[in-house]
């Protein structure tokens, strides 16, 4: 237990954080402290402080690449050719990820940014609609 005199500033912060106070002022012989909190929607719901959100590190961000058109999804440029990409592949910006066949044209979908393929989400040779998820990737 701490007396007012022996308080350290960290304890004061913790106390204030865990309280429901919106303002706190203290003046002692040696110092003056003033704390104020604008109640947020979150805080208003309860006294629990918002969990600390850890910003994702660049390499960990997972994004989904979706189909810009309606068509048939192909992972390979030709029936017995190797696939453009596989799980774990890294591709550069502009590299071809897959083909989507529409109106008898093979539309090559290029990566808009360098990334690593985490998962293939669409089924090869199946129909994809607009916005259908194709790949889960990590931005590099």
């Amino acid at each position: 237990m701490k007396t007012i005199e022996s308080l350290d500033i960290e304890s004061l912060f913790t106390l204030f954080e865990e309280s429901s106070l919106s303002e706190f002022e203290l003046a002692t012989e040696h110092y003056e402290v003033k704390m104020k909190r604008t109640p947020t929607a979150e805080a208003a719901k309860g006294t629990v402080p918002a969990p600390e959100t850890k910003p994702a590190e660049p390499g960990e961000e997972v994004e989904v690449i979706t189909s810009p058109i309606v068509g048939t999804f192909y992972l390979t440029p030709a029936p017995d050719a190797p696939p453009y990409v596989a799980i774990g592949s890294t591709v550069g910006k502009g590299d071809v990820l897959c083909t989507i066949e529409a109106m008898k044209l093979m539309n090559q979908l290029e990566a808009e940014f360098a990334c690593q393929i985490v998962r293939v989400l669409a089924k090869p040779e199946a129909m994809v609609e607009f916005g259908a998820p194709l790949f889960e990737v990590k931005r590099l």
Binding site: V70, A102, M103, F130, G131
Partner: protein, 443 residues
């Protein structure tokens, strides 16, 4: 045989077509934008394919995505609905070339009647009265001045490829011609990518009457009577009714025969409408709508013919299976369009029900109205033995409507319905102005 139809549309008309498919035991696929994922048409269809994002240019006008969606879901046909690609000859041709049935007229017919000058020429040949005016496209401003001089002012300049009031300019005297010509040309290029203009005598506050037809493309043509669509606000129809009130039997019959003759001349296939302007004792051909129309339920109720079903059956090549003698027009029908005046969430929707009332809508409490699309919320259609009875039923039906969350035109529609002008059946395109605008100014 058509077993599965892709519906390239949204809103109430997409739902209307899904319902017709269900009634016929045909599978339906709704092609929809990302915004329309949670609409009733998508919910009730057998399948659905997202074809693009909210803006119509990125979804409902994406011909390639629509055709691919139809092919990949193994549809036999595409129903374009109303608006969007429904009167786009190039799209119809693309559908035909993909080996799919286009539920509508042949692409050539769409192209033909899409050009107002060409359509007027065919109409005249088929013996359909047309407004006095140039049957040829205008060459230049001088040509316009010369023709207007011989017709007498006021005249109206129209974009040959136009519609919906765009590329149209009324010219009241010689001095106004240069400016009007330039503006109409600019709009025609902007909206229709086609600067061709023509010029007709302008009819002030005419009635707008149209004849509904069905044809099988092999010579069988029937009409389902006419609809009066005069009550409009800025060229947008508000009320439609059949039979048209205060129209002589002679004109009614002449209009119907002229329309049938025109459709025969066109070798038309599918459902379509011939629109006329009525000016006192005369009527003039305005245009052909080579598609279903929003107000089609009015004709369904007086004829007992399901137009969407008929469209599909015609596309199946079954022939019309109907002769004019099979069409018995009985009673009266009236449609009231309820439009939104803004986007938002419909916090509460209560539509009317009960006897003599049909509601075509795709909205319910909680539906979100996207700003991307047109403002039609619901069509309330009543059937009755007579016009007087029909007006009473419509009044009752509109009294039951509650729409909370967005502004609507319900108040205005109730005012029009209650107005003396409308009650008496003296309807013209000037009615809205007289009932609503003037009341506001006096109020």
């Amino acid at each position: 045989m058509i077993e599965k139809i892709l519906i390239a549309n949204r809103g109430e008309i997409a739902l209307r077509i899904v319902r017709a498919c269900k009634d016929l035991g045909i599978k339906s696929v709704v092609a929809h934008s990302t915004v329309d994922r949670d609409t009733m048409a998508v919910e009730f269809a057998d399948e659905h394919v997202c074809i693009g994002s909210g803006p119509t240019g990125e979804s409902y006008l994406q011909a390639d995505n629509i055709i691919m969606a139809a092919c990949l879901t193994r549809c036999d046909a595409i129903h374009p609905g109303i608006g969007f690609l429904s009167e786009n000859a190039a799209f119809a041709k693309q559908v035909e070339e993909a080996g799919l049935a286009f539920i509508g007229p042949a692409s050539d017919t769409i192209a033909l009647v899409g050009n107002k000058v060409a359509a007027r020429r065919i109409a005249r040949k088929a013996g359909v009265p047309i407004t006095p005016g140039g049957e040829e496209a205008l060459i230049d401003l001088d040509d316009a001045l010369r023709i207007a001089g011989s017709l007498g002012y006021p005249v109206i300049i129209k974009a040959s490829a136009g519609g919906g009031g765009r590329g149209m300019r009324i010219v009241r005297d010689e001095e106004g011609m240069a400016n009007a010509y330039a503006l109409a040309k600019k709009e025609a290029l902007l909206f229709f990518a086609d600067g061709e203009l023509h010029l007709e005598r302008y009819i002030q506050n005419p009635r707008h009457v149209e004849v509904q037809l069905l044809a099988d493309g092999h010579g069988a043509v029937v009409h389902l009577g006419e609809r009066d669509c005069s009550v409009q606000k800025r060229h947008q129809k508000l009320f439609e009714e059949s039979p048209a009130p205060r129209l002589s039997e002679a004109m009614r019959e002449a209009m119907a025969s002229a329309s049938v003759a025109l459709f025969r001349a066109l070798g038309y296939r599918g459902a379509g409408t011939v629109e006329f302007l009525v000016d006192g004792p005369s009527f003039y051909f305005m245009e052909v709508n080579a598609r279903l129309q929003v107000e089609h339920p009015v004709s369904e109720l007086v004829s007992g013919v399901d137009l969407v079903r008929a469209q599909i059956e015609i596309a199946q090549g079954k022939g019309l299976g109907l002769s004019q003698a099979d069409i018995h027009l009985t009673g009266y029908a009236l449609e009231c369009r309820i439009n939104a005046q803004g986007a938002g969430t419909l916090t509460r929707v209560r539509m009317p029900s009960g006897p003599q009332v049909r509601v075509d809508t795709f909205l319910e409490s909680g539906s979100v109205l996207s700003p991307h699309y047109d403002s039609l919320l619901a069509k309330v259609i009543v059937s009755a033995k007579s016009r007087d009875e029909g007006l009473a039923v419509m009044e009752r039906a509109l009294d039951e409507v509650i729409i909370d969350g967005v502004e609507t035109n319900l108040g205005e529609q109730r005012q029009i319905l209650a107005s003396k002008l409308f009650r008496c059946g003296t309807v013209t395109t000037g009615l809205y102005g007289e009932v609503i605008t003037q009341r506001k100014n006096h109020g």
